[in-house]
């Protein structure tokens, strides 16, 4: 458990944690189906259950359908949810990324319209940020929104859009000023109804076999101008703000999940005969993974301190992300090393490990240093904004 150190709040937070834990212990946590549509339906129902019990939008105002508590409360709940081995609600993009932006930058009307169904899972959100030509260089994105009376007309293509075929709304980062210098100053943040004519969604199958990502094509899609979030050409700052807000909840969730991955492996390995268990290759791999976990946990404590202090986007967030990526890759990489040639046989159980699962976890861990800002982008941020080195 990550200790919350905020003087008088600490006790309050312990009480809150106790309530969350008791509720989760009694809750009917659903098993997660692997088939995509069934998984979506199950996780959406789970979100509704969490919402009805008052566990979502903890840090948001009551007018927005939230609970009027703090970001730390949401963080503690995320941690307890993961510790209970319970799945995350389906609408994480909405809850962690888009929702906080609407809460911070939206008009009262936008908050009232969008946030309650976002929390309950009635409306699932996807994120339209990356494009085929705009990955690390996100600000070079070219999907355009041209003003036409009280509407924008959107044309372009987005990629890596989670749950695209299931999403009701898309948070779209698009170009409203092609001449702007710097290019960041010409971007806007639009809230787009996915049922609008002119939208086509095409799923992308990944090497893990999963297909929760999509490509989304926009062809003359009309978006009412009242669906502009913030002011025109201010989209870049909104996007940066939300990317930093999502990180703490994501980090704590992954911390717990990676901890489970290691615990499951240790449980399996502990059934081996003592001599095999104490093979140096086995002990070293487990020790490496263990150290990585503790490093991550210590770093998460620092990150939590910053959510409490509400410092906003900070170059230290990039250190957190680098540490998370390394820990995830060290744990999953160390365990993968224990499969030997049996990695190629998904149904095998080398050393008692589930070959299919360990291989999948390892593949997935390799994505960690790519999504949400690559390791190289984070290092640029650290060196320029934390260490103060001159721009090249």
């Amino acid at each position: 458990v990550i200790r919350i150190e905020h003087g008088a709040d600490a006790t309050d937070m312990d009480v809150f944690r106790g309530r969350a834990r008791a509720w989760l212990a009694a809750a009917d946590v659903p098993p997660v189906p692997s088939e995509l549509t069934a998984r979506f339906t199950t996780l959406r129902r789970w979100q509704r259950t969490l919402f009805d019990a008052g566990w979502l939008g903890l840090g948001w105002s009551r007018e927005s359908g939230g609970q009027g508590l703090t970001a730390l409360h949401q963080f503690v709940f995320s941690e307890e949810l993961a510790r209970a081995h319970a799945p995350a609600p389906i609408g994480l993009i909405g809850l962690d990324v888009v929702g906080p932006s609407i809460h911070a930058f939206g008009t009262p009307a936008q908050r009232a319209r969008f946030l309650p169904p976002l929390l309950s899972g009635d409306e699932i959100w996807c994120q339209g940020f990356s494009e085929p030509g705009a990955g690390s260089d996100l600000a070079s994105l070219r999907t355009s929104a041209v003003r036409d009376g009280d509407q924008y007309i959107v044309d372009g293509q987005k990629v890596w859009t989670s749950w695209g075929p299931y999403a009701a709304w898309c948070a779209l980062l698009c170009r409203t000023d092609p001449e702007a210098k710097p290019k960041q100053a010409g971007l806007s943040y639009l809230l787009v109804d996915m049922r609008s004519p002119g939208i086509t969604v095409r799923p992308i199958v990944q090497m893990t076999g999963e297909a929760e990502f999509s490509e989304v094509f926009f062809d003359g899609v009309r978006v009412p101008s009242e669906n502009l979030l913030g002011v025109e050409n201010s989209g870049w700052n909104i996007a940066l703000d939300t990317l930093s807000r999502e990180r703490a909840n994501y980090t704590i969730r992954r911390l717990v999940e990676i901890g489970w991955i290691l615990d499951d492996a240790v449980a399996a390995l502990s059934r081996l005969p003592l001599r095999r268990r104490l093979d140096p290759r086995v002990t070293r791999a487990v020790g490496e993974a263990h150290v990585a976990m503790r490093v991550l946990e210590a770093q998460a404590r620092r990150a939590v301190g910053r959510i409490g202090a509400e410092t906003g986007p900070n170059p230290l967030d990039s250190i957190d992300k680098l540490v998370l990526n390394d820990a995830e890759q060290a744990v999953c990489g160390s365990l993968m090393e224990l499969l030997g040639p049996f990695r190629l046989s998904p149904n095998a159980r080398p050393l008692g490990l589930d070959s299919r699962q360990v291989v999948r976890d390892h593949y997935y861990s390799r994505a960690a240093s790519i999504y949400g800002g690559t390791t190289q982008i984070q290092r640029n941020i650290v060196s320029e904004r934390l260490l103060g080195l001159p721009r090249g």
């Binding site: 268990r277 104490l278 002990t283 503790r294 490093v295 103060g388 001159p390």
Partner: protein, 360 residues
């Protein structure tokens, strides 16, 4: 009345930092390092300031500062590369009723993988014998604290002997560690009086486990201090040194090395802080495991930071005139003291796979 000192309220670091600013100017520092890491006057000044009694309990005349409160001080030792058996004078008096005066810890447990080469001491029928190949400050200390036996209840003991005891042969060794001296200790067959035995049996095992845990934790904190200093100096250098008409710190290849150094330094500091914060009230097997963990990470991270610093500095870093090599050499020495990452990850893994109730 319980008036134990609470380190949160008292700043131990600033006065010592100011003392070092006065006492250890760059020229003096260089001379001390070049002389092999032994500065008797500096050490006696530090002892005079109370270094040796900071952690000793009040009923033994100390200030009773809990070891976790001294993390900042140990990081400062690393950052300033202060020579002397400074960690020993914090850890040993905190846990053992030992004489005042400079202490050294003759502990074959400072390595696991080289246990066979390190030697050992045995106490049988009241007679002590054996050798320890590497004793930090063995030739400078006034008293030696001897870790006797294997780590088992039937053989373990802790014995304290004056360094000038005729049965002790202490040979000063050449050392590549710029801020510590080492000696080989040989104990000829010697009768040990009851009064010279600090602990035996289960009590000795417990105390040795504590001593080794804190030796590891503080070695990690010292390495964190080294990393912090090396990072800061390397960032400054990369901002000043120009090639191709611009500072080398503006090249992405160099920036990314420095960003990696920052990641390792900050995460090491965070881990040291977490381990130290958790130490109070922790059960001994958990503290032991946390100490393995933080030392394993410190060994890897501090080495990487220093080696990358050398890379960023280029040729100048290899010169004896420029000071970087002292930090690199200290980090590489301290990295192995009480275990590097290779040794300790194996120990940690074995614990996790054999004793789930104290999963580290």
């Amino acid at each position: 009345m319980d008036d134990d000192i609470n380190g949160d309220d008292i700043d131990f670091v600033t006065p010592i930092r100011q003392f070092l600013d006065r006492r250890l100017d760059p020229e003096t520092h260089r001379a001390v390092l070049a002389a092999g890491g032994w500065a008797p006057e500096l050490m006696s000044d530090l002892l005079e300031l109370g270094w040796g009694s900071l952690s000793a309990p009040k009923h033994r005349g100390g200030l009773g500062v809990p070891l976790p409160e001294l993390r900042g001080l140990v990081e400062l030792v690393g950052e300033r590369l202060v020579p002397g058996p400074l960690v020993e004078q914090l850890v040993l008096p905190a846990l053992l009723d030992v004489p005042s005066g400079l202490l050294a810890f003759a502990d074959p447990g400072a390595t696991v993988d080289w246990a066979a080469e390190m030697g050992g001491l045995s106490l049988s029928g009241g007679r002590l014998a054996g050798r320890v190949e590497l004793v930090r400050y063995g030739a400078q200390a006034e008293h030696l604290i001897l870790a006797v036996g294997a780590h088992t209840e039937d053989t373990a003991a802790i014995v304290v002997l004056p360094a000038n005891d005729p049965a002790l042969v202490i040979e000063d060794l050449e050392s590549s560690d710029p801020t510590a001296c080492y000696a080989r200790l040989t104990v000829r067959d010697r009768a040990v009086a009851e009064s010279e035995i600090v602990a035996t049996g289960a009590a000795a095992v417990v105390l040795l486990t504590w001593l080794r845990a804190w030796s590891r934790i503080f070695a990690a904190c010292e390495l964190a201090g080294v990393a912090r200093r090396v990072l800061a100096d390397t960032v400054t250098y990369a901002g000043q040194r120009e090639q191709f008409g611009r500072p080398i710190g503006s090249f992405q290849a160099v920036k990314h090395l420095l960003a990696g150094m920052a990641q390792k330094t900050l995460s090491l500091e965070a881990l040291c802080a977490a381990v130290v914060d958790d130490a109070a009230g922790q059960e001994l097997p958990d503290l032991e495991a946390a100490a393995w963990t933080v030392k394993a990470y410190a060994a890897r991270a501090a080495r990487a930071v220093c080696e990358d610093a050398l890379q960023v500095h280029g040729g100048i870093g290899f010169t004896s005139e420029y000071g970087l090599h002292w930090y690199l050499r200290r980090a590489l020495a301290l990295r192995t003291w009480y275990g590097d990452e290779n040794e300790l990850t194996a120990v940690i893994g074995a614990r996790r796979l054999t004793s789930p109730e104290h999963a580290p």
